[in-house]
């Protein structure tokens, strides 16, 4: 049973890389699109709305296929599988995350903005110093959920040729079917450990953001 672990751990490296890069991309996109939805400009609002709805409303698997198989044909460029995976996962979860950003910014009480105006803070200072720190605290639990979903979403990337932990499991399984329960057992455990680590990470940020609250 233990002999299964080294190849699976090797695949886990890819899974972790895809997860971390995708989280970074998704986080940037979530803030960019979240603020885009709140923009004064109709055009900016319109463009971000289309992005959010398209990527939320279509399947992640098809998005992966598009990035890796369809787009290269259309644009005549070759996107490495890793980049395609990070792009698809980042765009997909960034779209979900943007709704978290938007709703949490809107959920900060209006009196906070008004107090900031009364103290003559500039619009940028109001957002950066007053609204965002309070919105950030509300975003964290939802971000935690999305992070874990993204991690699990990476198990699709073997379909665009990446040898992640799921792929390695499939390969092991094809050489010895009888070990199937052990293989998938290990994979479950590995995902759980990473998910748990991500949860602890979010908890750390939540505690840090909870300063001053009972």
């Amino acid at each position: 049973m233990w002999h299964l672990l080294p190849p699976l751990l090797d695949g886990m490296k890819t899974t972790l890389l895809v997860t971390l890069y995708s989280i970074a991309v998704a986080l940037v996109l979530a803030f960019a699109a979240g603020f885009g939805r709140l923009s004064k400009s109709r055009t900016v609002r319109g463009v971000t709305l289309v992005y959010v709805e398209v990527f939320r409303g279509t399947s992640l698997l098809v998005q992966l296929f598009w990035m890796y198989f369809a787009l290269p044909l259309l644009l005549d460029v070759r996107i490495p599988a890793m980049s395609a995976a990070v792009l698809a996962l980042g765009l997909n979860y960034g779209a979900y995350g943007s709704e978290v950003v938007r709703s949490c910014v809107l959920a900060v009480p209006k009196g906070q903005t008004e107090a900031a105006i009364a103290l003559n803070l500039t619009p940028r200072q109001r957002m950066r110093r007053i609204i965002l720190p309070q919105a950030w605290r509300m975003m964290l639990p939802a971000f935690g959920n999305l992070q874990i979903e993204l991690l699990k979403g990476t198990s699709l990337v073997y379909l665009i040729t990446l040898s992640d932990v799921t792929f390695r499991g499939m390969v092991l399984r094809s050489s010895n079917m009888t070990e199937t329960p052990a293989i998938f057992g290990w994979i479950l455990i590995l995902f759980f450990i990473v998910a748990f680590a991500l949860t602890r990470l979010i908890r750390f940020f939540e505690r840090r953001a909870a300063v001053g609250r009972g």
């Binding site: 008004e114 110093r129 309070q134």
Partner: protein, 311 residues
């Protein structure tokens, strides 16, 4: 206070007309003289505000002199709060103009024409105005000291050490020097409101707006906040606009009391005139209703209406 009462009496006009001294000067006198005289710190002209089809303010004219303490009383929904919010640039007037220290607030000059102000212009003029809110609106993620220093550092570009020294001095004045490292959630309502007052005061505005600052407080905490405001008012140089339901407080502190109803200033005068000799029927019935209500729960709150007993 007596002196100011005298001035007001001279300029006092029946009911609606604002008693601004400048308006009584003949038109033949040159503009420059007006500016050398005490120029109002705030001047509302023809201010109308509607929310959708609901008109909240109806062609308000109002001058406030530097250092003057003006109390606004009136039934809820009469437009008192909106009057202050327009000045704090929290709401935009539907029509009319507001001048702050001789400068247009909501408008600016572009190629000889008045156009709506941009954020840069608002930022410049707004620095002369401060406001304390009914619900305190302290920043919950910052400790008390930081609540008070933040704007000095960000807006006035003051070095942090200097800002902290000034904040500490101000917090001592409002009696909260022991609480600087606490967070707003750890304070009582009265303490929160005193921090909010300190936070607004350190910015040294020319006029400070107090929007029903004791309405959200437990009755036993009202007194400590009113005392702080009275203290600040006694220093004199800062003008104040006090929207309040505390009639005793208004009487004590105000140079002039305005009674608003239905989006108009219905009556104004010295506290004595307004409270002891109300002329308009609406003010009379407002005061009667008010006294009736206060008589019911007489003595329960720190700022309870004692005027009822004076008649």
């Amino acid at each position: 206070m007596i002196g100011q009462t005298e001035t007001l009496r001279e300029t006092e006009q029946p009911d609606v007309a604002p008693p601004a001294p400048e308006r009584r000067r003949g038109p033949e006198e040159p503009e420059t003289n007006v500016k050398e005289e005490i120029r109002p710190i705030v001047r509302y002209r023809g201010i109308t505000k509607s929310f959708g089809s609901h008109q909240v303010l109806d062609r308000i004219d109002l001058d406030i002199r530097p250092g003057e303490k003006v109390a606004l009383i009136g039934p809820s929904g009469s437009g008192k709060t909106t009057l202050a919010r327009l000045l704090m640039t929290l709401e935009e007037p539907t029509s009319g103009t507001i001048e702050v220290d001789g400068e247009q607030l909501w408008h600016m000059e572009r190629k000889g024409r008045l156009v709506p102000a941009d954020e840069k212009h608002l930022h410049r003029v707004r620095g002369k105005i401060g406001m304390v809110f009914q619900h305190f609106n302290l920043f919950p993620h910052m400790n008390i000291l930081r609540n008070v220093t933040e704007a000095m550092v960000l807006v006035q570009r003051m070095p942090k050490e200097e800002a902290e020294a000034r904040a500490l001095a101000m917090l001592e004045r409002v009696g909260l020097q022991e609480r600087t490292k606490h967070y707003p959630a750890q304070l009582s309502g009265g303490q929160k409101q005193r921090v909010a007052i300190a936070r607004a005061l350190v910015m040294q505005p020319n006029i400070m707006l107090f929007d029903e600052v004791t309405s959200a407080l437990d009755p036993e905490l009202v007194g400590e906040v009113l005392d702080v405001i009275k203290n600040v008012a006694a220093e004199g140089e800062m003008a104040m606009m006090l929207i309040t339901h505390e009639m005793d407080f208004a009487r004590d502190i105000a140079d002039r009391v305005l009674f608003t109803d239905g989006g108009r200033i219905v009556e104004q005068g010295t506290p004595e005139q307004i409270f002891e000799n109300p002329r308009s029927e609406r003010l009379q019935s407002f005061l009667t209703r008010f006294r009736g209500r206060r008589a019911d729960d007489a003595g329960t709150s720190a700022g309870s209406m004692t005027a009822a007993g004076r008649e």
